[in-house]
């Protein structure tokens, strides 16, 4: 399409997209796949919120194309609309033409990162989070300790009661803060957990970054569910953050660096699968290949790695549950995690696992595969939109009459828990794995 328009009508100016790495460029075919049929519109959470073409997948692709052609400035307007995208990829599910929207938007964000100067505060904050904290496990731990201090010293209660948070406009954002664990998961790195009963598979576990300080229990539960189902679980040393948050934010150089480290950590040994309990991480891990242009030394290893990559629900559904499950009398509804259902096209596996638990009644929620507004750091960067989506989600969740909302990604857990609290639905929010662990018994 780029060239098409150039041939017929010369481009107005030079392309707004320049990139240092070939993996951060788009080809004619990438855009041309979009036939602007509009079937994505009603599936896009932000289009549904605002009704603006600029905040629809079709409109965003058109904007990228126009910037690429030099017909639209890579300026505030473009950046705002691309920033406002949740990258939930619901449009990919809706798209009949197979547009890889996730790839397009990540590349567009990389272009923004390289060609647009954000306001100073935003620049510093982004740099701090994406370049200086997330890539470094020790710094994550240090930051987590600070938050833990705030949460457990009584400061949090004070801040909430005093109205200081409201004053700062942080009241609802603060609720999204994960509860920091007493004991971090980092200590498990390098350990191997034997299978119970006959060993059916040997898997490596991807432990995440923030998850290691805020979801240690979930990670432990994952190990327990896997071992109970005959899997030997190895938690390889040397693994780092998957790079998803950085990639989604357009900080692709950092994402690439993290990917290289992880490839080294996981490709050393032969595993039946690499599993993760975080759909957001899994989606990026399964697309490591996209970070490296063909010809890059990491391109082939990335492909080998992603073939082995499995979401934990996908893997368990594949091998089948063999552990003894006791009844959990609970009426639940399942909220699809975007990066599982749209990013990885996994819709049935988690539902199959939920239904396998005796006593559980699964009630489908309308628009279950629409984003809850969590979307990585979206709920922090675009709080208003995120909370509007969350409100709709909680309305739909309440309408199911379910006692618990089950989902498949830590980010979604945080958002939905905040939602249940803000909207007083009284619903428990569980990861699929937590539900299974409860049926298997033991601590969770």
């Amino acid at each position: 399409m780029v060239e098409a328009v150039n041939k017929i009508e010369p481009a107005a100016g030079a392309s707004g997209f320049t990139a240092s790495d070939n993996a951060d460029k788009l080809a004619y075919e990438d855009y041309a796949r979009c036939i602007h049929c509009g079937l994505c519109l009603n599936h896009c959470p932000t289009y549904r919120l605002w009704g603006l073409e600029a905040d629809s997948p079709r409109g965003r692709i058109r904007q990228m194309l126009l910037v690429d052609q030099g017909k639209l400035e890579l300026g505030d307007s473009f950046v705002r609309h691309i920033d406002q995208c949740l990258d939930c990829r619901a449009c990919e599910t809706a798209c009949p033409s197979g547009v890889e929207y996730g790839k397009l938007v990540e590349v567009a964000r990389a272009q923004i990162e390289q060609n647009y100067r954000r306001p100073i505060f935003s620049r510093l904050a982004r740099s701090l989070v994406f370049r200086h904290i997330l890539p470094h496990p020790q710094r994550i731990a240090a930051a987590a300790r600070l938050v833990r201090l705030y949460q457990r010293s009584g400061l949090q209660g004070l801040a909430r009661r005093s109205g200081a948070l409201r004053l700062l406009g942080l009241e609802q954002r603060e609720r999204l803060l994960p509860m920091i664990d007493r004991e971090f998961f980092f200590s498990r790195l390098g350990s191997t957990f034997p299978a119970q009963g006959k060993r059916r598979a040997r898997v490596a576990m991807f432990a995440g970054c923030v998850a290691q300080v805020a979801f240690s229990a979930l990670n432990d539960a994952t190990i327990r569910v896997l071992t109970a189902n005959g899997c030997e679980v190895v938690v390889p040393n040397g693994q780092v953050c998957c790079g998803a948050l950085a990639a989604h934010a357009g900080v692709r150089d950092v994402a690439r660096q993290l990917a290289r480290t992880n490839l080294d950590a996981f490709l050393g040994e032969d595993f039946d699968a690499v599993v993760t309990n975080a759909a957001g991480c899994g989606s990026t891990l399964k697309e490591y290949e996209r970070l490296f242009a063909p010809g890059d030394a990491a391109h082939e290893p990335a492909r080998a790695f992603q073939e082995r990559m499995r979401d934990v629900t996908e893997f368990l559904a594949e091998i089948g549950l063999v552990a003894q499950l006791s009844a959990v009398p609970l009426r639940v509804t399942y909220q699809d995690s975007c990066h599982l259902v749209h990013g990885q096209k996994i819709r049935e596996a988690p539902r199959k696992l939920i239904r396998a638990v005796p006593g559980v009644e699964l009630v489908e929620m309308v628009l279950a595969d629409h984003c809850c507004g969590s979307a990585g750091v979206y709920n922090v960067t675009q709080t208003e939109a995120s909370l509007a989506l969350l409100e709709e989600k909680m309305h739909d969740a309440r309408a199911t009459g379910a006692q618990a909302i089950v989902t498949a990604n830590p980010g979604c857990l945080l958002q939905l828990r905040a939602g249940a609290e803000i909207h007083h639905t009284g619903q428990e929010v569980l990861h699929v794995i937590e539900l299974l662990a409860r049926a298997i018994g033991g601590p969770i």
Partner: protein
């Protein structure tokens, strides 16, 4: 762009409901078709009152006014061909009333087609018109274009399901026509308005019929080794008076594109398939399915499959409904046509289309509503090459000419829009067109509502002019 008009629009609607910067307008110059045209203002009304205000301003400033739903149309109906204000209904999307007992719904124009069905299916009802874009397209758009879909074979097009409208006329008057009842004394203005492509009035409220969901549905897939056998099957089914709810044909080439996307189990080595659906009472569905299978076999169907469950059925339909999109996988650009022919002429017409393709050097695919003779030839070409684009348009015009010669029509469901207004003389005499102009002028005397659509622009000249090349070709052209 008139700053004064911007200010007045903003005063009337609020700042967040008016767009006028180039960077925003550029996103409203396309729809689902090959056409392009950029508006000068884009507005987002929330109520009929807003629409009246916009109308009055358009009138005062003498600028065109064009309605738009989701912009999924395939004939450029929702493009501001002569600039002016584009009135987008994306924020006027409330279902106003659901009257289950009388099987009616009253909706704002921006309600998405499938969302209405979702809202009523718990009561065993649905909204029958089912254009392939139904998960995104709006009911206002359906009304403007008189949209069809696969199941129009049994249930009719949008016009058959609309009983009343609220209109805003160019003078700013709000008029209700029709209602929940089916017969209103006087001229059938509702019948005229549906399909008038926004050239007569702006519709602000629609009263539609809801249809009862069938007790049973059976979906058959008949597989053929020759295209002629498939078309002969359709002709014979029609002649025998078998009326399925839908009867779609996909040629082998389209099948392969679709299968690549949906993995529905379409046999990729076949020359054509018919996707046939029968609905109704269990007993009737069984009887019809048996008879259809018999006709298919009689015409050498290699295999007649019956979808085993709802999942299989959904998959087959997913393939059909996403077919146009799936072509994006084959070719960066394509041009989809929409012509109708008598069903007895199906075999001859498909052969002719194939010939035309050969003459012009294109591979022309076919995926269409065979049951009612509504063809959708698809011409794949490379838009980077202007010569190819011109050739594609010429081939497509030749197909349209043939359809009309066969006693058919220029468009079965996509509308005339700005795609075919210059082809209208193929079907209508100057006298016919003059009367249409006069009727348009009754409603829209100053020509401010969606100018440049439906009727040919050149007056008094019956010859057919070539369609102009879009300002800048997009992925489809």
């Amino acid at each position: 762009m008139d700053k004064k008009l911007v200010r007045e629009l903003e005063q009337a609607l609020g700042k967040d409901a008016v767009l006028w910067k180039t960077e925003d307008l550029m996103l409203y110059e396309y729809d689902g078709s090959v056409e392009q045209a950029r508006p000068e203002y884009v507005v987002f009304p929330r109520s009929t009152r807003d629409v009246v205000q916009i109308m009055l301003l358009a009138n005062r400033f003498q600028v065109p006014l064009v309605g738009r739903g989701a912009g999924t149309g395939l004939s450029g109906g929702a493009l501001a061909r002569h600039g002016g204000i584009l009135l987008v209904f994306s924020r006027m999307n409330r279902i106003l009333e659901l009257d289950f007992e009388n099987q009616r719904a009253v909706v704002q124009p921006g309600v998405v087609n499938l969302d209405l069905t979702r809202a009523v299916e718990h009561a065993g009802l649905y909204f029958a018109p089912d254009p392939s874009s139904q998960k995104a397209c709006t009911i206002g758009g359906n009304v403007a274009e008189n949209a069809g879909g696969p199941h129009t074979l049994a249930y009719g097009v949008t016009a058959n399901h609309v009983t009343g409208l609220e209109l805003v006329l160019p003078e700013g008057d709000v008029v209700r026509i029709g209602g929940k009842v089916t017969d209103s004394p006087g001229y059938d203005l509702t019948g005229l308005l549906v399909g008038s492509e926004g050239t007569l009035a702006i519709v602000t409220e629609v009263t539609v019929k809801l249809t009862r969901l069938p007790e049973a549905v059976k979906t058959l897939l008949a597989v053929y080794d020759a295209v002629d056998d498939a078309t002969e099957t359709v002709a014979e089914m029609t002649a025998r008076g078998i009326t399925p709810a839908a009867c779609e044909m996909l040629d082998g080439w389209m099948l392969r594109a679709v299968e690549d996307f949906v993995h529905a189990g379409f046999p990729t080595d076949s020359a054509a398939v018919l996707l046939i659906e029968v609905e109704g009472l269990r007993e009737g569905v069984e009887a019809q399915a048996d008879e259809i299978s018999e006709v298919c076999r009689l015409h050498h169907a290699r295999e007649v499959r019956v979808a085993r469950d709802a999942r299989e059925r959904d998959l087959l339909w997913k393939g059909r409904k996403n077919a146009f999109g799936a072509i994006g996988r084959l070719s960066p650009t394509y041009y989809v046509q929409d012509g109708v022919i008598p069903r007895t002429k199906l075999p001859a017409t498909l052969r002719r289309i194939d010939e035309i393709g050969k003459t012009y050097g294109f591979r022309i695919g076919n995926i269409f509503h065979a049951g009612d003779g509504n063809l959708h030839p698809i011409i794949l070409f490379d838009a980077r090459d202007k010569e190819q684009f011109d050739r594609a348009v010429a081939a497509s015009n030749e197909i349209m000419k043939f359809c009309v010669e066969m006693g058919g029509a220029l468009t079965g469901e996509h509308g005339v829009g700005m795609e075919k207004n210059e082809l209208m003389p193929l079907m209508f005499s100057e006298a016919d067109l003059n009367l249409m102009r006069r009727v348009r002028d009754c409603f829209n005397p100053a020509g401010l509502l969606n100018p440049g659509k439906i009727l040919p622009l050149g007056k008094g000249c019956g010859e057919i002019r070539a369609r102009p090349l879009p300002v800048s070709a997009t992925s489809r052209a």
